[in-house]
Symmetry: C2
Subunit: 205 residues, 2 copies
DNA sequence: GACGCCATACCGACTGGTTGGTATGGTATG
DNA sequence: CATACCATACCAACCAGTCGGTATGGCGTC
């Protein structure tokens, strides 16, 4: 009977992790107070420190949480069905573009936001963010390698380098969107990215 | 006699602004303490609050300072000498790549770093960062428009959109470099950017 | 099935260090 | 002596983390 589906809410620990994702993305790591996260999760500080040793510990676990959340999201995305790996890569960009909905804190990247703030002050968080990005790059890499093999086998760029460049563009698009308070600039940047990848893979303008 | 060239150091206000640039870039806006900046400038808090009303006021002035510093840097850069505007744009990217030297805090973008942290909590700082980016984009725009006119007059992209995309890539490259603690990934991303811009402007691979 | 026992989960008051900002006074210069 | 500039000393608010205590529920035992 325990742990059944009758509970409307996820358990407290998961609520804290979800709250960490949204509060850190909205206010940044340092400006976010532990009690902000507690309030968003419907708990008090006593409960928080029952689940996590420290705020930094929360950040580390939240990065893992982010990795598995986004992992499931992209695993379930429709672009995997296409036959040509180049089409899958281009459809991945379209999918990223379709995610640019709602507020900035809702669609921007948790680890990208956090790592820029703490890359120098918390090596552990930096590594956690690096690994999260690496895990996402890895999911792209197979399609990208297959697409290169098929359409640009002898080109002088590597699939991994291009996958990283794609992440650069996406992360940078978020920064521009934040600076201009407008998601349109991010969408335009993804259009350019799609055109570039298309050119590299033999698609015309 | 005042303000003459005999002083080895710039005046205190300028030292505080310079210190703000480096300390904010290394630690982030929120984690940076006023006294950190004072120490870096060789002053105490009393002196700081003689020149700036608040930490936020400093951030606003530092963004303007950043704009004029980088404005001079790019104005003096060698890429303006090239005849073809497309070559100037490509040489701009090379120049950006040549700046990827030293520590991350030394070469990353001040306003890009700051805006990601405070875009939601301080509208004034966000606008200051937006304007700084816009000013830099404007310096690129003339060359880019001329290059488009010359080499891709009928293409279905705009010079301004491409200039913004270039900034996206650069900002994103900084994030990846921070996450991986390695500037090589940023350089590779700029290589991709150069190839893309080259393709749009009729340069081959 | 009542009881003792213990682990998990959570609350909320408290603390000790930190930090943005202030008050005040000293000194150099014109 | 007025003003600009800057140091020392200080304050009040804030906040991560602690701690004593409570509620709940599972589990073995008689």
């Amino acid at each position: 009977m325990d742990g059944g589906a009758m509970n409307i809410q996820p358990d407290s620990r998961t609520r804290l992790l979800d709250a960490a994702l949204s509060v850190f993305r909205a206010k940044g790591y340092n400006a976010a107070r532990v009690e902000d996260i507690c309030a968003a999760a419907g708990l008090t500080k006593g409960g928080f420190f029952h689940h996590f040793r420290s705020k930094e510990d929360l950040a580390l676990k939240a990065a893992e949480h982010w990795t598995s959340m986004t992992g499931r999201l992209f695993e379930a995305a429709p672009y995997h069905d296409l036959e040509d790996p180049a089409d899958r890569v281009l459809a991945y960009i379209d999918f990223r573009k379709s995610l640019l909905r709602g507020t900035l804190a809702e669609y921007t990247c948790f680890v990208g936001t956090m790592v820029q703030e703490v890359y120098d002050s918390s090596p552990e968080i930096r590594v956690a963010c690096e690994q999260s990005i690496a895990a996402h790059v890895a999911t792209l890499l197979h399609d990208l390698e297959a697409a290169k093999q098929l359409h640009a086998a002898n080109a002088d760029w590597s699939a991994e380098g291009l996958a990283l460049h794609m992440q650069s563009v996406i992360q940078g698009a978020f920064i521009l969107a934040k600076a201009r308070n407008d998601s349109a600039v991010a969408a335009e940047s993804l259009d350019h990215l799609k055109r570039y990848v298309g050119l590299l893979l033999g698609r015309h303008l």
